[in-house]
Amino acid sequence: MWSIVLLDVQKLSRTFGRVQALREVTLRLETGTVGLVGNNGAGKSTLLKILLGLLPASSGSGTILGCDIRHTGLKLRARIGYMPEVAATVPLLKGVEYVALSGDLYGMPYRDARRRAHEVLNYVGLGELRYRRLDEYSTGNLQRLKLAAALVHDPELLLLDEPTNGLDPAGRQSMLLLLEDLIAETGKSLILCTHVLKDVEQLCRQVVVLDRGTVAKSGTIEELTRAADNRFEIQWRDTGSNFLQRFRESGGSVLREDNPSEATALVALPETWGPRQLFELAAGCGTVITRLREDDENLERLFLRLTATPEKDTVMS
């Protein structure tokens, strides 16, 4: 399949005093839609700042949209549209003035910025509200307005920070559909930074899971969730034999062992195994498997698994 590299960074690190926000992050992403997820403090903001050219990396190298991230700061922002998470409105301005100001600040000629402000406000469905003052906009409309402000200079890459933050379910769905249409029709790339994993599942093809400054996992969502194909939730009737012990010895791994009295567990079979081998092992141990269900891991479960800390496990158990 034909693709262009959106982001290619090697061993990117960033420290703030003694705190290491990013540790040797190596990533290669294709153009398209990318979800950037991680817990608070995972390094998402630091990575975004580096990608926007707002912060230099302490070490490492790489390119974004073919530009060297170490030297491109303002040049890079000419090709990126950033939508901040916060409201970030300018008091007493009208919608169209706000978007035109965004165009001005990107360096667009005065007339072009105004003409384009009208255009993008129409695109995002705010055409009728463009002459209203910003304090009259609802949260949903403000999100659309910020998107228009990020789109005004027709960037190649949109960098959206929590675009559905504060929206009700209908507003959230509406925003996601808007973004879906936009990406599909204009072919722009998008990096979506969010805590709402369902948004990433709906909108993005690729995902990067950051955990404590490192890349816990990255790839297409399809690939990452396919990796769970060989995982099963099983229940068995315990006959006293040590079934799980034998299973481990055979190369399988027990991802989650529930209360022993319930005799249920989440297991990952060895690569060459199928359910048949599992049944054979159980039969050999004199154990009867009463339930076998494929683990339907979605992004949320993958995320929780990848970012789980020992402390969290303790709390959960």
Binding site: K49, L54, G107, H153, D181
Partner: protein, 296 residues
């Protein structure tokens, strides 16, 4: 509200230099001030004062006034009918009086122009575009300076032009070019110092009431303290604690007209003090803006 993709056109123009963003910041800031109706009252006050001085110049140059009326005008407004009158300092008096209006306007507009950027977290909007932090700071300083220019320097120059036009014309302007230069340099000091002080204060305090109270207190309280210490110790240098008086002394230095002989010695100290405070305030402002997290 779906996307109107049928009319989507890409934009393929050329982006200009980031420095141009500075002027956009100034333009928007002035628009914000003009949109706030309460500020129109202060702008009207400034305009009224300008019209008063305009009328005074017209009166002393065009009307046959009794001698005592001329003396009163010279005393109150600093303008005389004679263009070679060495005591003429009407422009300085005008700028000093306009400064009162400017100070009040700045006290209330700091929150709108700068405080809101921090309070409502608008700064990430500005700084995530194609401008740097220095462009933002320069833009805001120029915005405040523009307000000062509009209220003091431009009308003072207009009065200078009027005086010349109503008297000897080109001869007056050429012979008194130092007055125009003094208006510009005094204006520059007013713009630079006040804009840095206000933007810096607003960046830290952010809300209208604290900014207005602190701004007023900084301009009044040290002056009172300085006056008390001056009277108690009979040391004129204590009066340098008054920043507003320091500004006036700087103005007198540029216009070359001192109300008291001793002020001549103090003027340079006043200018040095203004410069020092401005540098400290500027460093504090840079530090405050640098501390802002653009991506939260």
């Amino acid at each position: 509200m779906g996307i109107d993709i049928a009319n989507y056109h890409g934009w393929h123009g050329e982006l200009s230099r980031p420095a141009r963003g500075v002027f956009s910041i100034v333009r928007v800031a002035l628009l914000q001030v003009l949109r706030q109706k309460t500020y129109w009252l202060l702008l009207a006050l400034g305009l009224a004062q300008f019209i008063l001085f305009w009328s005074v110049i017209y009166a002393v140059t065009q009307l046959e006034l009794p001698q005592d009326a001329k003396q009163t005008i010279l005393r109150e407004f600093g303008f005389s009918a004679q263009t070679d009158e060495k005591r003429d300092n009407g422009y300085m008096v005008f700028m000093e009086r306009q400064s009162v209006v400017v100070m009040i306007l700045l006290a209330f507009s700091g929150s709108l122009l700068v405080g809101a950027d921090f309070r409502q977290r608008t700064l990430p909007f500005y700084l995530s575009r194609r401008i740097g932090k220095r462009h933002y700071i320069i833009g805001k300083l120029l915005a405040v300076s523009s307000l000062i220019l509009i209220l003091t320097v431009i009308p003072a120059l207009a009065l200078f032009i009027e005086y010349g036009a109503l008297t000897t014309g080109l001869t007056y302007w050429l012979e008194n070019w130092r007055i125009a230069a003094a208006v510009l340099t005094y204006g520059a000091v007013l713009c630079l110092a006040n804009s840095v002080w206000l933007v810096s204060l607003s960046a830290y305090l952010q809300r209208a009431a604290p900014i207005a109270i602190t701004w007023s207190s900084l301009l009044i309280m040290p002056g009172r303290l300085g006056e008390f210490l001056w009277k108690a110790s009979d040391n004129e240098y204590w009066r340098l604690l008054d920043p507003w008086r320091d500004m006036r002394l700087a103005g007198q230095l540029f216009f070359g007209k001192f109300r008291k002989d001793f002020d001549k010695g103090l003027a340079w100290w006043a200018l040095a003090l203004i410069t020092g405070i401005t540098v400290v305030a500027l460093l504090a402002l840079v530090r405050r803006v640098r501390a802002v997290d653009i991506v939260e």
